[in-house]
Symmetry: C2
Subunit: 214 residues, 2 copies
DNA sequence: AAAAAGATAGTAATTGATTACTAACTAAAC
DNA sequence: GTTTAGTTAGTAATCAATTACTATCTTTTT
């Protein structure tokens, strides 16, 4: 289950990193909201109490995890976008980078989406929200750029396009979680994106007044 | 917070119904996995112990809730589909019925998606999976019918189209949860669906061999 | 270089709070 | 007056967090 050989007396920062990775690994198979500090400790061959030598409380652990996820995910999609000039192609690269990241770390989206649902705003939740905000901002920028260079129709609703983009990934994650197979995600992803792409590329008639349904 | 006036000594079945509704209401504002039996009881002006006079255990409550959600949701989308002959129009009606249902009961998707994530299969989780299965089946049937009658291209991947359909709703729910405003969902829904519709209507070139990017 | 001293990391046991669930008792309904 | 519904007061288990103690690594002193 745990590949780490027993490594004792790690320096503090190293131990914190190991802790974060342990949580991400656990979240791949366990519902984030019932990951206990005992389970985290056990997964990294440590006693439960030792965790609190490195984190003031449990939410601090979650904070560190969300920071880890945010940094890695944004870095991945930014790197994927590097050098690609076409906004639409950038979106596609970003999408596939995101899918690859999630396939590698299934715990990431589970924690993220789980965290976003929460009622009161813990520091960890604020980090999750911040990630979503930055993610949506990147998407919006791309879509606007796509309109500017003629790749996307001006009538396209930016907000709706970002919502669907994010929902697309959530849908893939959900299906993979149900099937218990993350590989499925990589297979379906291109087809799903193809549908999305055709949806936003096609000019829409603005539909002012009247549903026009028949 | 609770509209129910103090109603005591309800008949058993009535009390069970009230319980289910209380849970759905609570899930609108609280993360499902930390809804306690005490919170449920308090929300319906009852003592915690009384709940176990009507349910053998907590999972039985969740089972009843999932059953409630499944029945109401499927009934709503089936009714919305009634009399509509065009598969595409049926999908649209189904989508809007689903959105309306979720806007009325924000707790429903939270519990559903939360339940689906779980590791081991409790009876409640099995019900959630069954709902998703039936939902996907209805969608697949519609898409196949759409292909048969020429409204949708034969090359369309049915599974990808269903995944995106479900993801579309998840995306809308997520955005609304973040914003804390369910009305937003009803506003964005038509635009999001318009993108989806154009995506599946447009013929795709099958893309055999070669990515054809650049 | 060896010993002493201090800092750092981890253990094992325990804390108080919270949880689902139970049982003995009481009030209401038919 | 018996059945049904609800209350009160518990239980055992689990959780995050704390405590007193031990082990290991690092620095200083001689």
């Amino acid at each position: 289950m745990n590949t780490n050989v027993r490594q004792k007396n790690l320096p503090a920062e190293e131990r914190r990193n190991v802790t974060v990775e342990a949580v991400v690994e656990l979240a791949a198979h366990t519902n984030p909201s019932d990951i206990t500090t005992a389970a985290i400790a056990k997964h990294m061959n440590l006693t439960q109490g030792a965790l609190f030598r490195h984190f003031p409380n449990k939410d601090a652990i979650w904070q560190a995890v969300m920071k880890w996820v945010a940094e890695r995910l944004l870095a991945r999609i930014d790197k994927a976008a590097e050098g690609v000039t076409s906004p639409l192609e950038t979106m596609q690269a970003m999408f596939h980078a995101h899918v690859a990241f999630v396939a590698e770390h299934p715990g990431a989206p589970r924690m993220l989406f789980g965290e976003l649902q929460g009622a009161k705003a813990t520091p960890a939740k604020l980090l999750a929200r911040e990630l979503m905000k930055q993610y949506a901002a990147r998407l919006s920028r791309l879509i606007e750029a796509g309109k500017a260079c003629g790749e996307l129709p001006d009538e396209l609703e930016t907000k709706s396009a970002t919502t669907l983009f994010i929902g697309m990934i959530q849908g893939l994650v959900m299906q993979s979680l149900i099937a218990g197979d993350m590989e499925q995600m990589r297979v379906n992803a291109p087809h799903v994106f193809a549908i999305y792409r055709r949806g936003i590329e096609t000019a829409q008639p603005a539909n002012r007044g009247g549903e026009g349904v028949s």
